[in-house]
Symmetry: C2
Subunit: 224 residues, 2 copies
DNA sequence: TAGATTGTTAATCGATTAACAATC
DNA sequence: TAGATTGTTAATCGATTAACAATC
């Protein structure tokens, strides 16, 4: 109920609970205990109960949780399904793939326009959504009042563009650029997706498997 | 130096340090103190020094850190630049975009083949890399011995395919499917990228900005 | 030498886990 | 009622921050 102070660690687990509950529901499972769910998800039953109780008591002693009800509660907590007009800036490979790959509408996001500076892209439609000239963003925002922007642009462009978009009323950013938006803006929701960082982390972990005790780390050469 | 026990929190910050150091270096900055870097990155100087000292003393009292040297050290810690043959499974929109968008070679990944079941894609080349029929994966692995697989496939296919790939010697997965690989395999490096979870988290945070104290959370209707 | 800044230890803070009374 | 499982408090664990002696 009181939720202002729910930690980011908890929040980041919610979509995963949501995903697992959806699958349980799809498989016709009606009820689940925290113990059972914890085994499936690879975490502790305590943690699941703690997490859920940040938002309310959704379970029932001796029974567990009703899968469908809990799924719906988490949908509501996440704010899924609330309509939000959304624009995507940067209709390059990544931008177009994101558009076609993600189920925006399942979460309430309504993609109403894409923007790019590349003349060969302008005028094209991707999944029914038109690509406009980037210079028209301001005008478009004044007319349609989008609330969310997806940034698939080079980092050089991101800083300045974010300021412009905020001045036009954008409240949330899904940022795929290599620029960390979070630092500069407060009171605006930002979710940075750094695919490069993820790939580098994978690199570390593969490397770690190869030299388990960190030998040969500071020195490329193995000892003779 | 001793690194076996470096926590995941620290590891996940390394690529970000790397990114910032690269930018500093590109801007011709030669030295930096933990204090200065902490301000730029939005964290504490203590944390930076703690993190780096998991791997060695890269700084110098009274001076700080040499940007280029520290950048190179972190490259080495992450294992960037070590050649790793890589295959991508699922050459749909996302797979193709990832191929064209990511700088694999900068991190040592060598994309040597893509695979799909869609006949209209098979035979195409994306960025010089050919798309093969998925049924040939086993054969291909026996011949070329890739070490890393990028999964851009539906979750139904992921579980089974992972097992096959592991049996053919794959040691690391960059997983974009909606299936959580981590739970099932040990001794294999997995980096799950759940774009949907990230978008849901954004949803929560926008929603949070709208109703700051969690009022109207459990009950859609505002009180009359 | 004096000033700056590290490496490292100790203190604090927060997150996870364990335990158990409440209760379905 | 007896068994199961929650909600919640207390204990533990780990991560972050603060402090400071070492030293460039």
């Amino acid at each position: 109920m009181a939720k202002g102070n729910v930690s980011l660690s908890v929040i980041r687990r919610l979509p995963r609970y949501h995903r697992f509950l959806r699958e349980l529901s799809d498989n016709g499972i009606v009820r689940i205990s925290s113990g059972d769910l914890s085994k499936r998800m690879g975490l502790t039953a305590s943690q699941i109960r703690q997490d859920l109780n940040c938002f309310g008591g959704f379970g029932q002693q001796g029974y567990g949780y009703n899968v469908k009800d809990l799924y719906d509660e988490i949908s509501k907590i996440l704010g899924l399904g609330i309509p939000r007009k959304t624009v995507l800036i940067g209709a390059g490979n990544l931008g177009r793939a994101v558009t076609q790959h993600m189920d925006f509408s399942a979460r309430g996001f309504q993609l109403i326009g894409m923007f790019d500076t590349n003349p060969s892209l302008i005028g094209q439609k991707i999944g029914g959504v038109e690509i406009y000239d980037s210079s028209l963003i301001g005008e478009f925002c004044e007319k349609h009042h989008p609330a969310v922007a997806i940034l698939c642009i080079p980092k050089e462009a991101a800083y300045e563009l974010a300021a412009v978009l905020i001045s036009h009323g954008i409240k949330g950013f899904w940022n795929f650029s290599h620029y960390d938006l979070t630092i500069d803006y407060d009171g605006i929701a930002v979710e940075n997706v750094h695919l490069g960082d993820s790939l580098s982390t994978l690199c570390y972990r593969i490397h770690e498997l190869e030299c388990p005790n960190g030998e040969q780390r500071l020195n490329e050469q193995p000892p003779n």
